[in-house]
Amino acid sequence: MYEGSEGCHNSPLFSRAYFIKARDFQSAGKASIHIKGLLKELGYAQSIVRKTAICAYEAEMNVVMYGSDGQLTLTIYPTFICLKIKDHGPGIEDVELAMQEGYSTAPPEYREMGFGAGMGLPNMKKNSDWMEIISGPDQGTLVHMDFFLDNIP
């Protein structure tokens, strides 16, 4: 069974970490825009750039809205791209419930801003090729997503 990048023999080609500041809506999205630009410049196919950037954005927004300060790590392997997002926030109590479309714990003020439709995690699941969430109450959250490359360099 495929177990994400941990169980893989590939060695990383490139890695970069981004700091995400909680509740900073003004600069939210900067990491994902940077990742998008970087992958584009490296010459990855448009489809994979888009998928990775969308997932990075969703994950980034989750940290900004619910988590405390966190970190997003982009790692490029020969056969796939890996995103890891870690924060030390309140964690997710029931991961399976959170994965359901429309489920959201967003307070009304976020909903007023147009967030909290309960589509973030399902959207990440849809756009990534492999996804894992490790979380529990007061343990913070680690989201790990992989994107497989079609044309391997």
Binding site: L13, F14, R16, G29, S32, I33, K36, L38, E41, L42, G43, Y44, A45, Q46, V49, R50, A53, I54, Y57, I76, P153
Partner: protein, 421 residues
């Protein structure tokens, strides 16, 4: 002609006046300026002619090469088309018709472009309504009017190229029509007729030399508003002629400022963005798929729209006030008939001949090589002070690292590392 190769730009640095400060380099959205070892600024090929650097230079060393002076017009029969921005330059007491009347003293024919804008709005509506239920269409459609935004998308957001509204710009449509008319009605040969546009836009010329859509432009050149402002101003009010040369309503004139184009789109969910920084921000959002529910987006690289263009004379906020007044005065009702525009639309009056070469940017990047390069760049960047001071002559530490890896810079140019040593 393929844009980008050979790279052309029409912003020029006067090396005698340039003292090698880094203001222009820092403000360039494309990171296309370097201050090299001779302590002068130089522009690279990725310049998109936005003109951000022109206004920031404290020594007026940056000039736009766009404009042609009246003396140097070579054609025997000179036609000019007029961007509505010029109507906003002489205060709110001067009517568009007066401006055209004065311009007719200098040129053989003068045509108002604002009228085409109203046809264009209606055609855009038709195009959008036709495609509303087509699942293949990617939304939002992007306005193809601003030459700077066109180039920005070409260089930085090639994935958005298919989202352009595939129409010729109103300036090109008008130039095509007036040229056709002049050939029919006058005795001049095609090479003797010159069509020029009076514009506030420093990037218009690149649209003529290297058009994104067509293979060649219908315009022969561009005249900056600053070039003729004084001449027109002196004559305004002194010429009386009982003729009407200006037909458009408020919508067509309103195109001078940001939001004018979408103002004329009825029943279309649209958005207007102006300013190069905001434009980039929104293009990033479109590329991420975050701009939902918008069908048409109007981008203008200059703040407040075309009235903020580098070749305009009056400040953009004053011009905006005049524009608003003119728009109210002429009213925002449509003056063109649906049936007429529909017929033009079906006959391909608006369609741009898409140059496929410009729309299929080949992805030749070698992933392995580019990853190696990125690793080297980031490795070097970690080692740099990351103060982004620009003293080395590259806009920031990341670009400096790229330049070093590409052989344009040497690591010993970093002032802060030298200081620490």
């Amino acid at each position: 002609m393929k844009i980008g190769q050979p790279p052309q730009h029409f912003v020029d640095i006067n090396l005698e006046r340039c003292n090698g400060c880094v203001l222009c380099m820092k403000v360039c959205p494309m990171k296309a300026i370097r201050v090299t070892k001779d302590e002068k600024a130089h522009i690279l090929g990725t310049c998109i002619d936005c003109g951000s650097c022109i206004s920031v230079c404290p020594r007026n060393a940056i000039e736009s090469k766009t404009s042609i002076s009246i003396q140097s017009l070579k054609s025997r029969y000179t036609i000019v088309t007029v961007s509505p921005v010029i109507y906003t330059q002489f205060g709110d007491e001067v009517m568009p018709n007066e401006v055209i009347t004065v311009l007719r003293e200098f040129y053989d024919q003068v045509y108002d472009q604002a009228y085409i804008h109203e046809l264009y709005n209606l055609a855009t509506e038709i195009y959008i309504i036709e495609r509303r239920n087509d699942p293949k269409t990617k939304w939002p459609l992007i306005s193809p009017i601003c030459p700077v935004v066109n180039r920005l998308i070409y260089h930085r957001f090639p994935a958005l190229l298919p989202q352009f509204l595939p129409f010729l710009t109103p300036g090109e449509i008008l130039a095509r029509e007036v040229k056709k008319k002049a050939l029919e009605k006058t005795i001049f040969k095609p090479e003797e007729i010159g069509v020029y546009q009076i514009t506030p836009c420093s990037a218009k010329l690149i649209n003529i030399k290297q058009p994104l859509f067509e293979n060649s432009s219908f315009l022969d050149g561009v005249i900056g508003i600053n070039e003729i402002f004084g001449k027109v101003k002196r004559k305004i009010g002194k010429i009386t002629e009982d003729a009407v040369y200006h037909y458009s309503g408020g919508i067509g004139i309103g195109w001078a400022r940001s939001g004018g184009e979408i103002e004329g789109l009825e029943g279309v969910r649209s958005l207007a963005v102006s300013g190069i920084k905001e434009t980039i921000k929104y293009l990033e959002r479109i590329e991420l798929g975050l701009l939902e529910g918008v069908e048409y987006i109007e981008f203008r690289a200059c703040g407040e729209g075309c009235i903020g263009g580098p070749l305009a004379v009056v400040d953009k906020y004053e011009a905006k006030r005049t524009t608003e007044r003119l728009v109210r005065m002429f009213g925002i009702n449509k003056r063109v008939k649906f049936g007429y525009v529909k017929k033009l639309y079906e006959n391909g009056f608006f369609n741009a001949g898409i140059n496929p070469e410009n729309f299929s940017k080949p992805n030749v990047a070698n992933l392995k090589a580019s990853l190696e390069r990125a690793k080297e760049i980031y490795g070097l960047w970690e080692f740099l002070p990351q103060k982004d001071c620009g003293a080395c002559g590259s806009p920031d530490c990341m670009t400096f690292a790229e330049d070093v890896i590409d052989g344009l810079q040497t690591p010993d140019r970093c002032a802060i590392l030298n200081m620490r040593r």
